[in-house]
């Protein structure tokens, strides 16, 4: 219960902070808050858009959650997500030009996306397990490698025909596109992401793997003592997390964007870190929090549209939120008392 309250207080602090920034821009913060939520959560098209934004956030949050359970600070979901998107594009446009059956194509792309995401998790995993390389640094660095790799491809060899020299690839063939519902962008990927949340719940709560994550996450030495192969577990946690983020990248391509382009992610993988924390590493709570952040993303575009407030303000909000979340960890553990001498 106190965990829930501290999360709520963190959100409140971030909102207050956001209010001051908006005030300093000369706008009314309450009107801005209203703009932030009214359309994204109060209208059907807004809700649909929020769900669409939720999907990549949910995948990446679930990806980092697994490593976080073990106190591995995997902040590489962004790179794993982009590698998954890259792999899906590669498969859809270059590897399988002769596959026209979506029942074959989609699973193939999903496996490809998972494999590349997993590989992007495996690298920092193996470096951490055997060489003691700090995973925070290695995952962060690999994000840039992935981002620039996508940039290179889209500006260079993969620049699509008929893109009018814009750095975008050709559109995915129909067989590589996930089922769509209506015209608002609602797609099957959203369902996969929610199924994934339940799968992660099963994984962390009802399997040997999850039990070992819990033990090693609480005390690594005790994990070794209990006969757990901690090195293998570190790599496994990074690989599984990477695969989930990679599937997220694939779903974003096949379900929403249908073509690879630079900056196609507004930093989903970074926001995922905040979401996983705010949900206190609970996969089901992660669904709810991801939706909230998806709505926020949609709402921030409304802000820009109607109040000319830069939508990147939401990044400042996210930053403050993570900051107050981490601070609340401290306050939950310690009490501050004034001692008069």
């Amino acid at each position: 219960m106190s965990i829930f309250i501290s999360s709520l207080i963190s959100v409140l602090i971030a909102l207050i902070f956001l209010g001051f920034i908006i005030l300093s821009l000369g706008d009314d913060p309450f009107e801005a808050y209203w703009q932030l939520v009214s359309w994204a959560m109060g209208t059907v098209p807004g809700l649909i858009q929020s769900l669409v934004s939720m999907m990549p956030l949910l995948f990446t949050s679930l990806g980092v959650l697994i490593a976080f359970k073990m106190k591995l600070w995997n902040i590489g979901a962004e790179g794993q997500f982009q590698m998954g998107a890259f792999a899906a594009t590669w498969g859809a446009l270059y590897l399988f030009p002769n596959i026209h059956n979506p029942w074959v194509m989609i699973p193939l792309l999903m496996i490809l996306g998972a494999a590349f995401g997993a590989f992007w998790g495996f690298l920092p995993g193996i470096m951490r397990a055997y060489l003691g390389v700090n995973e925070i640094l290695s995952t962060l660095m690999l994000n840039y490698v992935a981002i620039y790799w996508v940039n290179y491809l889209t500006y260079g060899p993969w620049k699509g025909a008929g893109s009018y020299n814009f750095p975008i690839t050709a559109k995915f063939p129909q067989s590589a596109i996930l089922p769509q519902y209506g015209s608002g962008g609602l797609n099957f990927g959203i369902i996969i992401s929610i199924i994934m949340a339940f799968f992660v719940l099963y994984l962390v709560k009802y399997t040997k793997f999850g039990f070992h994550l819990e033990i090693a996450g609480d005390n690594l030495r005790a994990g070794e003592y209990a006969g757990i192969n901690v090195k293998k577990l570190i790599i496994l946690a990074m690989v599984i997390g990477g695969a989930i983020s990679g599937i997220g990248g694939m779903a974003e391509m096949s379900g929403v964007l249908f073509r690879l382009q630079p900056n196609f992610s507004p930093g989903y993988g970074y926001t995922a870190v905040i979401i996983a924390w705010l949900a206190r590493l609970d996969p089901i709570a992660t669904i709810v929090v991801s939706f909230f952040f998806g709505a926020l993303l949609v709402g921030s575009q409304q802000l820009q549209l109607f109040m000319q407030i830069p939508s990147s303000l939401i990044n400042a909000f996210n930053g403050i939120l993570l900051f107050s979340l981490l601070a609340s960890e401290v306050f939950m553990r310690y009490r501050i008392r004034v001692v008069r001498s």
């Binding site: 040997k208 039990f211 609480d218 005790a222 003592y225 006969g227």
Partner: protein, 502 residues
Amino acid sequence: MSEKILELKNISKSFSNLIANDSVDFDLKKGEIHALLGENGAGKTTLMNILYGIYKPDAGEIFLDGKKIVISSPRDAIENGIGMIQQHFSLVPSFSVVQNVALGLKEMGIIPDLSKIRKKIIELSDRYKISVEPDAKIWQLSAGEQQRVEIIKLLYVKSKIMILDEPTAILTPQEAKGLFETIKEMTANEASVIFISHKLKEVLEISDRVTVLRHGRVIGTVETKGTNENDLARMMVGRDVVLKTDKKPSHPSKPILEIENIHVMGDKGIEAVRGVSLEVRGGEILGIAGVEGNGQRELGEAIYGLRNYTGNIFINGSKVRPGDVLERIKNHVAYIPQDRKADALCGGLPVYKNLFMKAFSSPIFSFNPYFFYPEKLREPSEKVVKEFSIAASSVDQEVKFLSGGNMQKVVLAREIKSHPKLIIAVHPTRGLDVGAEEFVYNVLLAQKEKGTAILLIAGDLYEIFNLSDRVGVLYEGQIIGYSEPDESHIEEIGLMMAGVKK
């Protein structure tokens, strides 16, 4: 001798809902050695930390030479002539003895006059017969020598009241004797000493008066001359205690653990175990004595597979691989490590998960790795908690909120329940009160009778005498010799602990 130089009146201190000191009265006469006796967790160290200014008391007053004083930091304490040697020394390892003494001085200035300090150190060590090498670096010194440096530091600032917190824990019997002589020399020079301990024998040997604490309260203060071991034990525990366990003759069977010439690296990159060979048979307890830091920890970890080694280890006749804990567990090896909180427990997890930490490694369980319901562990855990009388509010309580004794019981319960053929126990009663100690002894002895091989690595010689059938002494990573686990051999064992071969 009768003049009171220090008086603590009505000192109370609590930590959230734990009462560490409950209106404690304590006084110290000039030139006296006053022992503060009590089980672990009785509040001895808390009381002294209040006197030394580390904790602020919730209530109570401190009088020095009849004048009321307030001590709000160790600096205040030192200025009032109160010095304390804590269980963990506060020395800078890369500095020399002279530099360490200089560090604490007020009149040090920007460029300290080290030669003056050096001269005074030599003077002090001559007068009090404390042998220290002023230019040696701290890391080169043994624990006993480092303790002497701490004493010099106190003498240097002319402390009138010296608090020694469990000073003999790290010493050989001979070194302890030397320490006692130093203490007596200090009291002859008008200093007064508060001697904290939970060991009855040494309290009877060194002190003039004894104050016994139990659960944060003073049970009584007695003249040492007018008391004895049994009386003090009863005051400490609140009931009669059997100090001698009843050790039945053992019937050793075939060797369960065989070690051939193993070498193990320590954390500092220095070889900590240098060619140890030994054998433990089923149904016997082999005690390994030695001053701490002579390779005990490394030896235990190597046998259990937590640390790499060269050489051979056989369990039940088959060779095991270095660094493979799982293989040990599969072969029914149980391990009770020295630092159970850091090595064998997950503090943030509930009791029931800790009891089943080896759910997927121990051969006695067969859980499905893909359909595992931790909730189902609750019921069997409740039984174990009852059987081992673990004082937890429920099996859901996080282990970090248990007392040291109950933590040890959780480890013990888990390890004993795995039907071990070999138990490696390193300092199994460290930090436990007499009651819990008795419990651990009985469990280990019962296991021995069942035919389990037990390797007991302990610092407390009486523990080894109480339990083991043979004693080996570990000195600088080697077994320097074997002896009989009997008090009549204490001299011989002590010499071996100091490195003197038979």
